[in-house]
């Protein structure tokens, strides 16, 4: 256990380091995914414009839809990097600890996504003119929701990886599963912005449950995924 546990963390660090280094080199998230997220926000503004009234009310929902779509892109990228030259044999061959690989990949995605959310929040704040009241709920809900999204995304990314249809399979698998995050995040934000943080904390509870469940499942179930031929 001790040796295994230590190895797991070492491997997680190794994988996260590699992924973040690649991201740092290619700056894909910074240069492309972040602007993409902003563009999606803009599009929503166009789509829902007629009545300025409900754009403001719909802001939490739009924020989380945008985060969700960005998560898809970040996860896709995280596995595209693995498959670039050989269809994902490398990670399997290294013989790294599966739970460690899961944690490492998830951690790298988390870092990127968290930064993205900060930028997005700033954008929302400006574009939709929302005030950020009830920030403790906002912060806790964001952290929990992001953890859940990232854990689920990393799992489903691995599930779709290596298959020829991965670009389309990933969204199909991922999106319905994170419906609770979508609902929870939206409601927690809405409650916080409305000033009813009691309800906000209840939703945070749901988000934390989801996050814990998916991180645990990921650590348990990543092994058969890496084992694939």
């Amino acid at each position: 256990m001790d040796r295994g546990g230590l190895l797991m963390w070492r491997d997680a660090l190794l994988v996260a380091g590699k992924d973040l280094r690649i991201e740092f080199r290619s700056k894909i998230a910074l240069n492309q995914i972040a602007p993409f997220a902003l563009v999606v926000l803009l599009l929503f503004a166009f789509a829902l414009d007629p009545d300025r009234g409900f754009l403001g009310e719909a802001t939490p929902g739009l924020f989380w839809i945008t985060v969700l779509l960005s998560t898809l892109l970040v996860v896709q990228r995280s596995y595209a990097v693995e498959a670039a030259d050989s269809g994902r044999d490398s990670l399997r061959l290294t013989g790294l600890d599966p739970a460690g690989v899961f944690l490492g990949k998830a951690a790298a995605v988390f870092v990127v996504l968290a930064l993205l959310e900060v930028g997005l929040a700033a954008g929302v704040r400006l574009m939709y003119d929302t005030s950020l009241r009830g920030w403790p709920v906002l912060v806790v809900a964001s952290l929990a929701a992001t953890t859940g999204l990232v854990a689920a995304g990393t799992m489903y990314g691995a599930l779709a990886a290596g298959l020829r249809a991965r670009e389309t399979l990933l969204p199909l698998l991922f999106l319905p599963v994170v419906a609770p995050v979508m609902i929870g995040g939206t409601r927690a934000f809405a409650a916080a912005l409305d000033g009813s943080s009691g309800e906000g904390w209840r939703w945070c509870g749901l988000l934390i449950t989801f996050a814990v469940a998916y991180v645990a499942l990921g650590m348990l179930l990543f092994e058969p995924l890496l084992e694939d031929s």
Partner: protein, 227 residues
């Protein structure tokens, strides 16, 4: 005394097709075995099976004493595999790629640089993203990633592809060294002249069938301590 690779009537199915339709193979420690055969014979599949990357549909197999069905992770950790594709991270530099593999195998620090030196990789490429290297240069970096792990078994699928003359000689030298240090090598190749000179034994696979449970030709039997 068990061979390091032991296959009995091994069948591997890819997309419904028996790419390997019954392979019997004994490889003893210290051998360099050349796997030859026409295109589509199942050479790559054989190597992937031994690396724990393809799965065994029928028959049985053991590598380094580990079972090919239940203990694939143990096997993967101990073999070095170079496929038709290189499996490098294109955004990372040659050095970083080698370091990643070194760390994942918990190799001693500075082994990465030593390996690049050994393979005579010029300094200019080392800090260049692999995406910017030529085909042969990439192949050499991929080889370095295998070398740095000091695997017990080397599984090389047409390793000479794309390498220029001096690099080929270098590779042969590295393999001989590794074998002298106790490793075992399985090479698939179509360049029979070069490979046959290197190999201590040649096996031929045709139509997914291989039958070679010979002992090494020189009579000396390498062994493996079963874990």
């Amino acid at each position: 005394m068990e061979p390091v690779i032991l296959l009995r009537d091994a069948v591997t199915v890819l997309g419904g097709f028996p790419a390997l339709a019954g392979a019997d193979l004994d490889v003893w420690r210290g051998e360099i075995v050349l796997v030859s055969g026409p295109n589509g014979a199942g050479k790559s599949t054989l190597l992937r099976l031994c690396a724990g990357l393809a799965s065994l549909a029928k028959g049985s197999g053991r590598v380094l004493g580990f079972d090919l069905v239940r203990q694939r992770r143990e096997i993967r950790r101990r073999v070095g595999y170079l496929g038709h594709a290189n499996g490098l991270y294109l955004e990372l530099t040659a050095e970083e790629n080698v370091r990643f593999w070194a760390r994942s195998a918990a190799a001693p620090a500075h082994d990465d640089v030593a390996t690049l030196d050994r393979l005579e990789v010029p300094t200019r490429w080392r800090s260049l993203a692999v995406a910017h290297l030529s085909a042969g240069q990439r192949r050499r970096v991929a080889l370095a990633c295998v070398v740095v792990r000091r695997p017990d078994i080397w599984l090389l699928d047409e390793p000479h592809t794309g390498l220029d003359g001096p690099s080929r000689d270098l590779l042969d030298g590295v393999l001989r060294e590794a074998v002298a240090a106790g490793a075992t090598v399985l090479v698939a190749s179509h360049e029979l002249d070069r490979s046959a000179a290197l190999a201590t034994r040649t096996v031929r696979i045709v139509g997914g069938v291989l039958s070679s449970t010979d002992e090494p030709s020189d009579g000396s039997r390498g062994t493996v301590d079963v874990a």
